[in-house]
Assembly symmetry: C2
Homo-oligomer: 548 residues x 2
């Protein structure tokens, strides 16, 4: 048996699917990510299970839908006992290792209740969504008392960048001409150079840490999945020189939006439009300031990945490492009069996904662009398959993509599904939606995108006739649209009714259930003759076990 | 503050709602249960969350629907970390104690994974569905190697009833005229007297054990919920003298069934009709043999409860003990050409439910019959309320019935819901239903009973015009029926889409989420002025925390 490959699972944060040159951006050149696509498969229809960091990631790390794992928003702890990719991999002696962000919140109450010490080996794992944390850094430290500093804060100080909050004052601020500190929390400062040299930025630091891990892993010897999880190009939008100055207004793709969209009668969409971040990004001068920084962050990421891939080549690691590249969700950047993420237009919910498998079985698919409808939850089972972990269809809800990677088959999926819980937001209060009802779900079949909005009419887009998603057909009375909405509602019910929580149906349990009938429990037999006719055995009152 | 009451939660197994004199049986007199109803509230519309032991009980013990806890069939372990009534009660220093049956299967894999020793205090609790096991006995021991004997087996031997399997040979067999042992697994032997005196039967033994517990609890001093959980009148159907001889053919209520029912075109119903246990109970001579034994078992149970209640009166326990009486599901007994349970006609899914609250607040409702639509999952929150446990709406899906008991309010519920998973059965194979799709769900609104059958058309009964549920309107094209089915499908989708798994949304977590915006994370502010206008505070680049 050959040695299983390792997996380097790279995740950017808030990276739109269309801000790479291989996905069509006209001005942003990402040659290293493009090269990865050229030696692997690029999926052009990959959807995240929630258009916001936390739940999207919990789905990625568990291979399960948001409704299944229950961590529906940032900071909602992933319950103790929810099975993760790391837990499955450990069963075959492989490691799941974290370098960077997960957005995981530990279930402290659940652990206390089961007597699990959060500082024990199991407690740390449970607290890190099943990963062994080589480096954990969620990349947001606005309020960072010294005792809670990240390793990156300490690193900055060690490099001579000393302050009360190095993360904020150096990595996420700029300087004006007078040397005054200007925070990147304010969008107007996005075009400044970050107050840190590129080689000490978060992106460079995390890249270095991935190399550190791979060096350590070589000595360890066990196969691994390394989740290299960058915070950028997530806000605060600011990038070190020279990237801060590479792009300007002339490189900005025009916004995808129409005046008609602003006239929507949909209460939830109107509430989105009224939110501060959407109002901000609807203004041209905000886009003109932020988008060049966003592009710079992506360019910087691409260069760091180039550095990483070259190092892996030199170290002989590339030949046995599957490299996956993706993002946890997109960023509206003013499209559809919206900012940030949290809804389901393509730029929010669709992500770049590239998987380059060095194994000879994948030679026939290098450079392939697959338009299969795939979901972020497909990565966990794909990595499990690569590392020889048995499939667990009662737990894992994603599909193994290996057949696509190896050109032996497709992905059988009728709908991509994504969910969002906005119970925490001002919108829920403004709209009077109770906590339990403040949620939405998207069903996309490759043409029709249907968004059920609890308490309101649905939203519907036809991406065949309206790829820009400018016309909401959610209230259209055209028979075709009425029919599509009914079909989508029915499909949603089918999906919702599935056994998302029946995770203890292991093969052992199912075998035990089949055997129950053979252990002497006899239901509905009138007499010995019926028993003998049905079973071919004589009934013996004194030997219930022997009867089985 | 007065001392909180204790709760004695009595559960019979497989007891139909209509086999008590207080619920209208013409020949079966159950004066002790009737007396309980006279001093409490009897609920005439109480539904279990699954018409089969295991999942119904897991719902009862967690206060959560089957789709939420995921233990969809007998033997499907309740996952580690699924919160139970016992877990909630412990938080306020109260005990949840088991005397009898739970049908719980421990999640051995889950425990191993989290490093929980099954023999530790927490491990034992996790293995017993949150209960502290004073006596655990699921009451079915056909295959009982000596090392796995129940305490009741040992008790029988200590009383002189010695054999390889005392449970089967004495408590669940009879003797013919020649003294030959005849097993109650065969229905033809149901009318024999069990081969054990009444005072050593399972029902009497478990009653004695409840007294033992209450004596022990008095010394312990902590408040408690004691779950006294009888196996009978569940099969094997056999009862000791004199109960075996109290009823005969003349006491049997005619079957609820019609010839037209046998002509159903519904594939799932046809499969049920073809199952052995249904074919058996469709035969009059089977009903004539079994029903008198079933009635005898209930009569014996009532007498034992009379003995228990009298003892509690003498011991001064009654005045501070809420007594609830119910069952985990019913028994078809040949009605609708069916046997055992597993579907949703009234005799399978509706159960007796009586709650007698000794507190003065309940004085105004003694003897009340409430027709409120209630569910078995309502008991956990009702008991929690009585013992001073805070409500946990993010976990507990049932409703607190205290307002009904105290005459201060009703139960706001539009639908009672029940689910069944038949992946394990021959029917799934015969019908070609894949494991994931072999399930059904009932929605009942007090008039219309709608049963969604994955893969097949629904079943629909109108209990107003057809209280006997003889006419399946699931395929009716009458506009009213089409409309009701659409409404029920929509209600099912509403319910399915709820956050059944979002159980970590504790008040602490929700407060943390509200605070997130105040910890220096600023989204969508253009400049200092916008910040100040929105927040009323000056923006200070150097003091992100102070900004909050």
């Amino acid at each position: 048996m050959t040695k299983p490959p390792n997996v380097l699972w790279i995740m950017a944060d808030q990276l739109r699917f269309d801000y790479l040159s291989c996905t069509g951006h006209p001005h942003l050149h990402t040659p290293h990510i493009d090269a990865l696509a050229a030696r692997g498969v690029r999926f052009s229809n990959a959807y995240v299970q929630s258009p916001v960091c936390g739940p999207s990631r919990m789905s990625a790390y568990t291979g399960r839908y948001v409704r299944s794992h229950g961590s529906t928003w940032n900071g909602m702890p992933l319950r103790v006992g929810e099975p993760t990719l790391g837990d499955h991999l450990r069963e075959v002696g492989a490691r799941a290792v974290l370098v960077g962000k997960t957005h995981m919140t530990a279930d402290a109450e659940g652990m206390a209740w089961l007597g699990i010490d959060p500082t024990s080996e199991i407690g740390v794992r449970v607290s890190e969504c099943g990963f062994e944390p080589f480096e954990r850094d969620d990349g947001l430290h606005p309020d960072s008392p010294r005792q809670n500093w990240s390793a990156y804060d300490d690193y900055l100080v060690a490099q001579g960048y000393s302050s009360e909050n190095p993360w904020e004052d150096f990595a996420n601020s700029g300087l004006d001409d007078d040397g005054e500190l200007l925070s990147a929390w304010l969008l107007k400062n996005s075009r400044l150079a970050a107050n840190v040299p590129e080689e000490h930025s978060e992106t460079a630091y995390m890249t270095d840490r991935a190399m550190d891990f791979m060096r350590e892993a070589r000595a360890d010897g066990r196969p691994w999945v390394c989740h290299l999880s960058y915070i950028k190009p997530h806000w605060p939008y600011i990038v070190p020189a020279p990237y801060h100055d590479m792009y300007d207004e002339s490189h900005i793709v025009p916004p995808v939006r129409s005046e008609a969209e602003r006239e929507t009668d949909h209460p939830l969409l109107r509430a989105y439009h009224g939110a501060r971040v959407c109002r901000s990004f609807s203004r041209d001068h905000v886009r003109e300031h932020v988008i060049p920084a966003y592009m710079g962050l992506i360019k910087q990421l691409d260069d760091n990945l180039g550095r990483l891939f070259a190092w892996m080549d030199r170290e002989g690691l590339s030949e046995n490492t599957i490299v996956a590249f993706t993002s946890d969700h997109g960023d509206y950047m003013g499209d559809h009069w919206m900012g940030d993420k949290d809804f389901y237009h393509e730029m929010a919910v669709k992500v770049p996904l590239i998987i380059a498998d060095p194994r000879p079985e994948a030679n026939g698919t290098r450079g392939l662009v697959s338009d299969a409808l795939v979901e972020m939850i497909d990565l966990a089972p794909t990595f499990m398959a690569a590392l020889g972990c048995p499939p667990k269809p009662h737990v894992i809800e994603g599909r193994d993509l290996t057949p696509v990677l190896h050109g032996t088959g497709g992905v059988s999926r009728r709908y991509a599904i994504s969910e969002h819980d906005y119970h925490w937001s001002d919108m829920a209060r403004t709209l009077g939606q109770p906590q339990e009802e403040a949620h939405t779900v998207m069903l996309f079949d490759g043409r029709w995108k249907f968004i059920r909005c609890e308490g309101f009419r649905p939203v519907l887009f036809d991406l065949e006739t309206d790829p820009a998603e400018l016309e909401d057909l959610g209230a259209s009375e055209a028979p075709e649209h009425v029919q599509v909405r009914a079909r989508m509602e029915a499909a949603l019910l089918d999906w919702s009714r599935r056994h998302h929580t029946r995770i203890t149906a292991t093969p052992t349990v199912l075998a035990r259930q089949k055997m129950a009938a053979e252990t002497g429990i006899l239901i509905g037999f009138w007499d010995e003759q019926e028993y003998q006719e049905a079973t071919g055995k004589a009934f013996d009152s004194l030997s219930p076990v022997g009867r089985g």
